[in-house]
C-alpha cells in the first residue's frame, strides 16, 4: 500500500476522532499533540483496519503519524 493512501486514511481517522483540522495533521505530528492517548490508539488502529482492509498488530511504540505510516506500509 502506498504511503499517500495510508497517510490520508490516518488523517481522516484522526480528524474524525479529534475534530482536528485535517490540514493540521502532518507526518511529523505526534499522536499526543493530536490529543490521542495510548488508550485511544487501539480504537484508531481498528478504524484504520476497517478503512484499509489490513490487520494491524502493533508491538512497538508509535509516536508520530509517520511512525504509523511506515509501520503499515511495511506490512
Amino acid at each position: 500500500m502506498d504511503e499517500k493512501t495510508i497517510f490520508d486514511a490516518i488523517r481522516e481517522t484522526v480528524a474524525e476522532r479529534t475534530d482536528a483540522n485535517i490540514d493540521d495533521i502532518k507526518m511529523e505530528s505526534t499522536f499526543r499533540e493530536l490529543g490521542i492517548d495510548s488508550l485511544d490508539t487501539v480504537e484508531l488502529l481498528m478504524n484504520l483496519e476497517d478503512k484499509l482492509g489490513v490487520t494491524i498488530e502493533v508491538d512497538k511504540k508509535l509516536e508520530t503519524v509517520k511512525d504509523l505510516v511506515d509501520f503499515i506500509a511495511a506490512l
Partner: protein
C-alpha cells in the same frame, strides 16, 4: 432482557458455564457455547438453549491457546456478526500441596484459567471496542480471594483473574465496556464432587450448604445487564469469604 444480544460462554458444556448459558438464553440472548472436552454435553446444552427459542452454536476450542482463541473470535464473528457479552468461565483444577505439586499441574491451571481469560478478552474486545459496547464477566473464585490449602495453582490463577478484570475494566471503560468478576464459593458441580457434605468445609460456610450453579448464573445475568458497575467482584459463596 437480553433480546437480540449475543453471548459467548466458555466452559459451557457443563457446570456453572452451562447454567450461565441457559440463564442468558432464558433472557433472550443468542449463545456461542464454547467447550473443550465433551462435545456430547455441549450439543445437549445447544439443544436446550434452542428449545428456549434463541440461536445457539457450539465451538470446540482450547482457550489456553492464543491462536485458538483468535480463530474462535473469527468464527463467532462470522456466525453471529456481533458479541455483546463474554463470560470467561472455562477452568480446570489440579489440586495438590505445593511441596508435591508438579510443574505441569501449576502451568496447566494457570494457562487455562488465567491465560485463557486473557486470550478471550484479547481477541473479543476488538469487536466490543468497535461496537463501543460490551460486558465481560470473568469467573474467579473465593479461592483467589482468601486462598485455599491444596489449591496454590488454582487460587493463584483466580486471583490473577481478579487483577486482570480490574485492569481490563480501567482500560476498556472509555469504550463503554464493563468488566467484572464473579467469585463463586463451593458450588455443586463435577469440579467439587469430591467434597462431601460432611466435609468440615461446609461447616465454615455461613449459609451451611453448597451453592447451586443457578445461583452463580443469577449474578452473571445481573452483571450482563448492569450498566454502571465495572471492576467489581461479586462473591456468590454463602458468605465464606466474608
Amino acid at each position: 432482557m437480553l433480546n437480540g444480544k449475543v453471548s459467548v460462554v466458555t466452559g459451557a458444556s457443563r457446570g456453572i458455564g452451562r447454567a450461565v448459558a441457559l440463564k442468558l438464553a432464558s433472557l433472550g440472548s443468542a449463545i456461542a457455547v464454547v467447550y473443550h472436552g465433551n462435545s456430547e454435553k455441549a450439543e445437549e446444552t445447544v439443544r436446550e438453549i434452542e428449545s428456549l427459542g434463541v440461536k445457539a452454536v457450539s465451538y470446540k476450542a482450547d482457550v489456553s491457546s492464543y491462536e485458538e482463541a483468535k480463530e474462535l473470535a473469527k468464527r463467532i464473528r462470522e456466525d453471529f456478526s456481533r458479541v455483546d457479552i463474554l463470560v470467561n468461565n472455562a477452568g480446570i483444577v489440579k489440586d495438590g500441596l505445593i511441596a508435591m505439586m508438579s510443574e505441569d499441574a501449576f502451568d496447566s491451571v494457570i494457562d487455562t484459567n488465567l491465560k485463557g481469560t486473557f486470550n478471550m478478552i484479547r481477541h473479543f474486545c476488538p469487536l466490543m471496542i468497535r461496537a463501543k459496547s460490551g460486558r465481560i464477566i470473568n469467573i474467579s473464585s473465593v479461592s483467589g480471594m482468601i486462598g485455599n490449602a491444596g489449591q496454590a495453582n488454582y487460587s493463584a490463577s483466580k486471583a490473577g483473574v481478579i487483577g486482570l478484570t480490574k485492569s481490563a475494566a480501567k482500560e476498556l471503560a472509555g469504550k463503554n465496556i464493563t468488566v467484572n468478576a464473579v467469585a463463586p464459593g463451593f458450588i455443586r458441580t463435577d469440579m467439587t464432587e469430591n467434597i462431601s457434605d460432611d466435609n468440615p468445609l461446609v461447616q465454615m460456610i455461613p449459609l451451611r450448604r453448597f451453592g447451586e450453579t443457578d445461583e452463580v448464573a443469577e449474578a452473571v445475568a445481573f452483571l450482563a445487564e448492569a450498566s454502571y458497575i465495572t471492576g467489581e467482584v461479586i462473591r456468590v459463596d454463602g458468605g465464606i469469604a466474608m
